[in-house]
């Protein structure tokens, strides 16, 4: 409006309301502080008409400011705030020209105090990260089939029931040791850390589940405490964290060897499903049976091969040939023997005839006589003297006679 200033007062020009309001809006929107600002207070007069936009007044003991949050922004809220809630609202301040009303155009609403918590969260996260507590190199592998499972949570919360139900359903083979600890309140961080420590000291479980069910950021705060983070890091057994809901991230989640979105999910990640195990087991058995069947078939085939090779090198054929030769020889031997025997028989009968022809009987038959004296044959004059008794054999008998005389032949006979 500086152009309107003049040395000579003139009747002042009137402005339309919209001109003023637009002017103001331009002023406010040109101020960088007002365009990116957190304001804290209590919510009142909250209304949410069908349009889906959120209208409320933010007030404290001294003052109030109108606020509006467009429907597109409300979609990002974890929960619709309620009258009386202490909150911090982020947005920009401008003028609603039609009503001549300046107001806070909100784009984020968070519970009061969260800002400080968030700063603390970031401070600790950065510190522990710098120390290497989140380093993947430090993450221990989660065993596939843990025999002993340690659980650190409240014995009365919803989380323990979720965890036990999940373990019962999926992997009833395990032994579960609950190390009870408060999971919210001042005592919680110390108790959670002690429980993790005690499990490692007394039980040496194969894996430890640490967690609790959903709640406000204050409820979950124990899991953002350094003492809990360090206890998880120091645990001998690998730790699975399951804190709150999917959207909640805690320091414990960063330190844990495995982060699960919920306590139920932590139990699911800790163990295999028995139905799957039974299926795998059946597959293994089939493999085993196939192996033994293959092996036996292979062995039978090899045996068959060997048998036929053995047959090829067997002396049976040679033996058969040898046997034939032997038979032949035997037959030939037999024939030779028969021949020999026949020959001998022929010769024998010849000899027999010869012998027959030489027998004295034959000589007698031809008309000769045989003379003996005193049982001795008489073949010479010297064998007898006249008067001797002699025995004479002839063809058909014998007779006795007496020698009356001897007459010597002239020629000499032997």
């Amino acid at each position: 409006m500086s152009e309107q200033l003049s040395l000579f007062p003139e009747p002042k020009r009137s402005y339309s309301i919209i001109e003023i309001n637009t002017y103001l809006r331009t002023l406010l929107e040109g101020d960088s502080l007002l365009q990116d600002i957190w304001v804290e207070g209590e919510i009142s007069n909250l209304s949410r008409p069908k349009s889906g936009h959120l209208y409320f007044t933010l007030k404290d003991s001294q003052a109030a400011i109108r606020c509006v949050m467009w429907r597109s922004q409300t979609a990002r809220l974890a929960a619709i705030p309620q009258d009386g809630m202490a909150v911090e609202v982020h947005g920009s301040i401008s003028v609603y020209e039609a009503a001549g009303q300046y107001q806070l155009y909100a784009d984020q609403i968070r519970p009061a105090g969260e800002g400080l918590l968030y700063q603390e969260f970031n401070r600790l996260k950065n510190k522990l990260e710098a120390e290497g507590l989140f380093d993947p190199a430090h993450k221990r592998p989660i065993p596939e089939m843990p025999a002993v499972i340690g659980v650190v949570t409240s014995p009365t919360g919803a989380a323990i029931q979720d965890i036990l139900n999940t373990l019962k359903r999926r992997y009833p083979l395990a032994r579960v040791v609950l190390a009870p600890a408060a999971v919210q309140g001042d005592a919680a961080p110390g108790e959670i850390a002690s429980a993790i420590h005690a499990l490692n000291q007394q039980i040496q479980p194969d894996v430890i589940l640490v967690g609790r069910g959903g709640g406000s950021i204050e409820d979950l705060w124990a899991f953002n405490q350094e003492i809990v983070a360090r206890a998880i890091f120091a645990s001998d057994a690998p730790v699975i964290s399951g804190v709150g809901h999917e959207i909640d991230f805690t320091i414990s989640d960063f330190v844990a060897d495995l982060r699960a979105p919920t306590p139920t999910a932590a139990a699911e990640l800790a163990v295999p499903d028995q139905i799957e195990l039974a299926g795998i087991l059946l597959e293994r058995r089939e493999t085993l049976q196939r192996q033994i069947k293959d092996r036996l078939n292979e062995q039978r085939w090899a045996l068959g091969q060997t048998a036929s090779r053995l047959q090829q090198v067997s002396p049976a054929a040679q033996l058969a040939a040898g046997r034939q030769t032997l038979d032949e020889l035997f037959r030939r031997g037999e024939r030779a023997l028969q021949h020999h025997i026949k020959l001998q028989q022929t010769r024998l009968s010849g000899l027999s005839q010869q012998l027959d022809s030489l027998s004295p009987q034959n000589v007698l038959r031809r008309g000769y006589a045989a003379v003996s004296s005193g049982g001795r044959p008489v073949t010479s004059l010297k064998d007898i003297q006249p008067g001797n008794q002699i025995h004479v054999q002839v063809r058909d008998g014998s007779f006795d006679a007496r020698v009356t005389a001897k007459e010597e032949k002239n020629e000499q006979i032997n």
Binding site: M145, A147, L178, L281, R285, L288, I292
Partner: protein
């Protein structure tokens, strides 16, 4: 895992691991037929044991006393 280990004393994980290792050994085909048959028998027994453990399993739950 020693061959003489009593199967009934094995946990599911131990029995399953042994079964797995045994199958790998058989897969290599380096064992004699006699040994193969013995391994097969043990494999069957390991399978039965695992099966029994799965069927009879009941989650054991206890609570730890935490010293102050």
């Amino acid at each position: 895992m020693s061959k003489s280990t009593e199967i009934t004393s094995l946990s599911y994980e131990q029995a399953f691991e042994e079964l797995q290792a045994l199958i790998n050994t058989l897969e290599s085909g380096e064992k004699s037929l006699d040994e193969t048959l013995k391994l097969y028998q043990r494999g069957q027994a390991l399978y039965q044991h695992c099966q029994k453990l799965l069927e009879e399993a009941e989650l054991k739950i206890e609570t730890l006393d935490i010293p102050e």
